[in-house]
């Protein structure tokens, strides 16, 4: 699946959820499923500033694709991180840069998250995009 197809899949997955309660339940479930970052990588250097929970990103390149790991101490944030990983981990930088990141809007997650929270997500995405630009 390419980056568009994965996002469409996520949009479809969220479209069957009835209300915010189900959405959050799903995010929590996704958050539970996210692999933890080992403590030695939860460093100051890997931390994203401006989020209301601690968020750590570990980024690298493997065989020409982005290797992305992420963690947070808050479960809902982990759920969002798991979606970002699904879309971007293992994807080629060019592909990431050439595509729109539309799933947050189309799932309604960006309006569901209040502005200051989507600011946090924006910081995370900006950090990833910065890395990606430097490694294309």
């Amino acid at each position: 699946m390419d980056i568009v197809e994965i996002q469409n899949e996520i949009v479809a997955e969220f479209s069957v959820l009835d209300d915010w309660f189900d959405v959050y339940e799903h995010l929590i479930e996704l958050g539970r499923g996210l692999d933890a970052l080992s403590p030695e990588h939860r460093t100051e250097d890997n931390a994203i500033p401006g989020c209301q929970s601690n968020v750590w990103l570990r980024m690298g390149m493997e065989n020409g694709t982005l290797k992305l790991e992420a963690d947070s101490d808050a479960l809902i944030t982990r759920g969002i991180l798991s979606l970002l990983l699904r879309v971007m981990d293992g994807t080629r930088p060019e592909e990431i840069m050439d595509s729109e990141l539309f799933f947050l809007d189309e799932t309604g997650l960006s309006t569901n998250l209040s502005p200051s929270r989507s600011d946090g997500v924006k910081n995370i995405i900006n950090t990833i995009m910065g890395f990606v630009r430097n490694h294309k």
Partner: protein, 405 residues
Amino acid sequence: MFDVERVREDFPILSSEVHGRPLVYFDNSATSQKPRCVIEAVTDLYTNHNSNIHRGVHELSGRCSAAYEDARSKVRGFINAPRDEEVIFTRGTTESINLVAQSFASAYLERGDEVIVTDMEHHSNIVPWQMACERSGASLRSMPFDDDGNLETHLLEEMLNPRTRMVAVSHVSNVLGTVNPVKDIASLAHEHDVPLLVDAAQSAPHMKVDVQDIDCDFLAFSGHKVHAETGIGVLYGKSEWLEDMPPYQGGGGMVGIVKMGGTTYAEPPLKFEAGTPNYVGAVSLSAALDYIASLGMENVAKHEAVLTEHMLESLAGFEGLTLYGNAPLRCPVFSFNLDGIHHYDAGQILDKMGIAVRTGTHCAEPLMDHYGITGNVRASLAMYNTVEEIDILAEGLRKVQGLFA
């Protein structure tokens, strides 16, 4: 008598909905909501009277100057200060404390001197002193508190020494709700000839604050936390200090005679009010204090005592919840964590149910360090909150627990 439903009608925002649910506003320690009379005072000023103050020769300027000085008198009465001249308008508590820390520090703080704060202070009553200490070579000491949220005031006696230049303490903790014994602290400090600054940001909305009864040397609070506009605050200072202290900011309004070769300064309070003051904010504060007076602070306090009791009952029996702070004398500020659930997760879900709480460190990291936590959920109440809203919160917390179970 205090009729909370009638009071709620005075606050337009309280009838709004958030995420399709009636707003339950429990973030009052961050900022308070405004009664219609305050909003209307601002509108009326801009619509009918607006003009800069400070020696304007024309009618509008005269009206606004008078309104500004009336507001100063109103504030004087609110905190029972002896003289209008002891009331300085600032942007808020933070600026008030910075004014003292900077102006006082440059006059009195020297290498080796000491300033005492407490471990439960808001950053706004820590960082200005750290900066003042750094500039002057003084050092900062901090009074600890116990797990119930009571200051260990018995330690103050031995912390005070001939090098102590200032004690700065919050009247009420913005996380634990503890009402600190500032009157005792004042008399202890004064025995050592040390002045006391009281951060009244969280007491002013909830109780009668009397600077003469406390006998503090400085006292700071924010308009936006007592139902006035954002951008206005107060510093009370005893005349003998204000007259001695050098000015804080320079500019229009705070001068006597200005020559390139040297400038003389006006008397307090003007000496400390450089530039166009927020006279509209001051007028809104005046309206807010009138509003509080019309209800009676003692009635507000009685109503809030009922809320406090209900909240404590509700949270005490709550399984899987840790409440921080359990002081005998407290204001309606409650902070807690649900076991195993991140405060930010909890806050997000509560928001979806229309319940506005604050999560995180509440600008009190040393306090969080005391409990070894990264933050918590804070429900802070005001005069317009109800017992029913507390029940909605409890219900909400149970839902949160269910979601994360």
